[in-house]
Structures are given as C-alpha cells and as structure tokens.
Amino acid sequence: MKHRRMSDRLFSLTVYALLSGLALTIVLPMMQVLTISVSPLAVVNRYGFHLIPTAFDFSGYRQVFHKQTIWTGYENTLIRTVLGTSITIVMTFLGAYPLSKRQLPHRAFWTGFIVLTMFFSGGLIPSYMLVKNIGLMNTVWSLVLPGAVSAFMLLIVRNFIGSLPESLEESAKIDGANDVYILWKIVVPLSMPILATVALYAAVDHWNAWFDSMLYIRQEKKQVLQLILRKIIIDGTADPSTTGAADAMNAPTNSQAMKMAALVVTMLPIMCVYPFLQKYFVKGTLLGSVKG
C-alpha cells in the first residue's frame, strides 16, 4: 500500500509539473512582449532574458499612438465587429426559427440547402471574384456579408429553438396572442442564451479577422486593426502582399519596442475581456458537440 501511495504522489507531481510547464509557455512570451514594449533601446538589444522590465521607456507606445492608421484601424475593427455581429445574430435567427418548425413545407430540403454548404465551398478565387463582381470591394460590406451566417451555428440555434416546449407557443395562442407577439415576447427572449453565444463567437472572429481586409480593401484608412498590426510587426513596411517574418527580424531592432507596443495595444481588449466571458465560450463549444 505504501508503494502505491508513493507512485500516486509521483504521478501527481508529474501532472502539476506538466500543466505548469504548459502555462509557462504562454505566460513567458507574454511577459517578454510586455517587457520589450516598455524598454529603452539599450535594454532591448542587451543579451539575455527580457521577462521583467529593468528600465522604462514608453516611446514605443508614443510612436504607436501617433500613427493615424492605428486609430482608423481601431475604428474600422469596432465598426465591422458591431455591424457584422448584429447582422449575424439577426440572420442566424431568421434562418433558424422557420426551420425549427416541424410542419414547415419541405423543411428537409430547405435545411439541406443550407447544410450542404458546410461540406463544399467554391474556394478563395471564386469568392474573391464574387465580391469583386457585385461591387463590394473597398466597402465594409465585403467584411461583414460573405461570412454573415455560419450553417453550423444556424443548425445549433435551430436545434435549440426546436427543443423549447411547444406548449409555450400553443398556450399563448389560446390566450389570443398573435404570431408576432409570440415571436417577440416568447421565442426571442428564450433564445437569448444561444444567440449570446453566437454573438460572442462572431465578435471574436470579427475582432481577429484581417485576410478579408487585405483582399478586399485597398485604401489604408479603411483597413482593420489586425492588418495595420501585420504591416507594423511582420512586414516592417506598408506593403501587405509580401510575407517576411525573417526580414522583419533582420531589420535593425530600434523599432522593436514600437512593434511590441502595437502588439499589446491590439491584444489588450481581448485579454481584458476573455477571462470573464470564458464560461460562455465553453458552453458554446459544448453546444456544438451535440449531434443534430
């Protein structure tokens, strides 16, 4: 028995060590980014660990806040996040509610019409051509419309609404409520938890999106924050079409503090918000795992 307890203790120790190790691989790089962002050039170029600031110099942040594109980028990201998330919620609900009605004529066909798009898509070039042809280039619509509804999310919302007790709607009908009243006062409020999950996922996606902005938006003042950050940290130049991680590293590092400051400015909103919202995201992944 004593031997067993010994092996269990060793096991426990290994578990804690491995998990702490994983956490460190995330925390240490973050500390390094923060430290570089507030360090003067002499400290940045010194050999050794940069995990805790030894001297402070906020010129990196000053440079970042003097960049006009950071401000327009923030604004554009906020606009697309709010607009895109609103469109996603409304459209997802508009699709999910009718399809949750079992009596809907040809319900299987209309559901299949949407589900099929989960398994096959046209790909990058045809989608790009489409946005170009219907005149969405250089507008915010090219960022919010193409990905407005996820077939997968729509199915989850449909299943959620379908699982609400039908007696609720029936009894409201008996009480003389019309369809609009039932929809607005019963179905929508009861669907709020699932719609909130859809909204959170859509909002994070919009906040982090950049490729569509690179594809469809030509004017720099209309581009989103992530793309502006990409230009600052990866390219080191204003040309978004080149990839140059190594080139960026070879460049003289006097701009390193500024790059890291831009990084911190971009990720700060997410870092402040996600610990408080994580339980909703957790709920979201689990909803997706239910076989529909």
Partner: protein, 298 residues
Amino acid sequence: MIRRYYAYRYFFLMLLPVVAYFAVFHYAPIYGVLMAFQDFRVLKGISGSEFVGLKHFRELFSGLYFVPVLKNTLIINAYKLLFGFPAPIVLALLINEVMRPGFKRIVQTISYLPHFLSWIVLSGIVIEALSPSRGPINIVLMELGLKPVFFLADTHWFRTVLVSTAVWKNVGFSAIIYLAAIAGINADMYEAAEVDGIGRLQKMYYITLPAIAPVIVIMVILTSGSIINDDFDQIFNLLNANVSSVGDVISTYTYSEGIAKMNYSYAAAVGLFKNVAALVAVLSANFIARRFSDNTIL
C-alpha cells in the same frame, strides 16, 4: 402545396434573406468553380470565357510547383494531426487529475488565451519569443554552449515551429470537449476501482480513456478534413523567403497564384482540388467510423 406554403408565408418571408444569402455567397462561388475548367478572363466573365477542360489540372500535376506544395501540405498537416489530435486529450486527462480547483482554473484560463488571439498577434509573439538574441529557448541553448537557432528561417526547424505553435494555440480550448466527456463519467466506476486498490494512472487508462472513446471517434471524423485543409492564417504570417521551400502550402500557394499573380483559373483549380480532397477525407473517415463503431456524424 401552394396553400401550405401560403399558410407558412411569414416563415418563408423570414427565411428568404437567409436563402438569398446562401445562394449568393455560397452557391454562386460554387458555380464560379467552373472557371477552373476555363481560361478565365475577368472582362468576359464565366459565361464568355473559353472552356479548356482539364488543362489546369494537368498543369497542376505535370508542373514544377504544385507537387512540392502538396507534399509540404500533407507533411505539415500529418504532423499537426499526429501531435495536435492527442494533445487536448492528454491535457484533459491531466487537468482531470488536478485536485486543487484554484490551480485548475488558472491553468485552464491561461491555456485558452492563445485561442482568442489572431495569428497576426501570435506570430508577432512567436517571432519575438524565438528571437536568436532574446528568445528564452535560444538563451538556454547559448548558456549550454550551443549555437542559437534562427528557428523561423531554418528549413530544418520551420515545420517544427508550425506544428508546435499550432498545438500550443489550440490545445487548451480543444480540451474543453474532452473535459466535458470526462465529467459525464459515472463516479461509481472510480469508487469500485479504488476498492480494488487501483492506482491513479491505471484508473486513467482503464476507466477514463475508454469512457471518452466515442467522443474521440467523432473528433477524428470532424478533424479528418484537416489532412488537406491547411491553416492559411498561421502559415501566411510565419512564412518567409528562407523557408518557402518547406513551408509553402496549398492555401498560401493559391493566394500567391490567384491574387498576387492573377492566374485565376489555375488558382481556382488548385482550390477545387483541395476542396474535393477534403470532402473525400471527411466522407471516408465517416465511412470507416460507421464500419467499426456507431459514432458517426452523418
């Protein structure tokens, strides 16, 4: 029939914008795939461009460029699956063994963080953390008397960086689903095992793992498409001229051919090949799962 549609007219009125959305933004691009069989000219459009049959697909496999790209894609994705698929299962098993709720919560919260950040932010962090002069790994190497490694510009290391950073980004969040499956296991089984005097490692192996096997099978099916679907966001932001021979994959190749060089038809053919291959992968994984167990998605 018309009467039934009329009775549901308001529901169809709601459905209309959604159907229109899928028709325009999903089905129209599927129709646009036709350009892969044409010499597409922007001014002529799909209806006016000349059909050339399988010309671009022949070029794909006889040309010098696509086959190495396909090879890179398959190698990188195979390694990502090999390490990325079991990693969240192992993490969930480890987290499940933690008895202190505070430690558990902190580790989980930290492990979710990379999932919520874009690959642009993450590549900035990765570039800085792997820096030859300031990166912790390189400092340790140098303290041990070894030469620093320029991980992101070294063809021997680049794929390792891609695989490990992908695992690092996703492992925490992907573990959630397995943790939920573990939480659903009947506690009686563990108690019975305890009575029999079974150690914690054996409990993990003989009770927890078999109990979450159905979830694992479903996740295998869902992720099988990722043998061919590469992560554009990650690779595009980490790729550079020094390592393009080992890191250029289908999606980055499609982008540079189609958008940068404007070889629309050729790039559309590349994309179509990828989409068909991904579909075949998912369907065959589902087929195999149906043969051997009851856990399928279709």
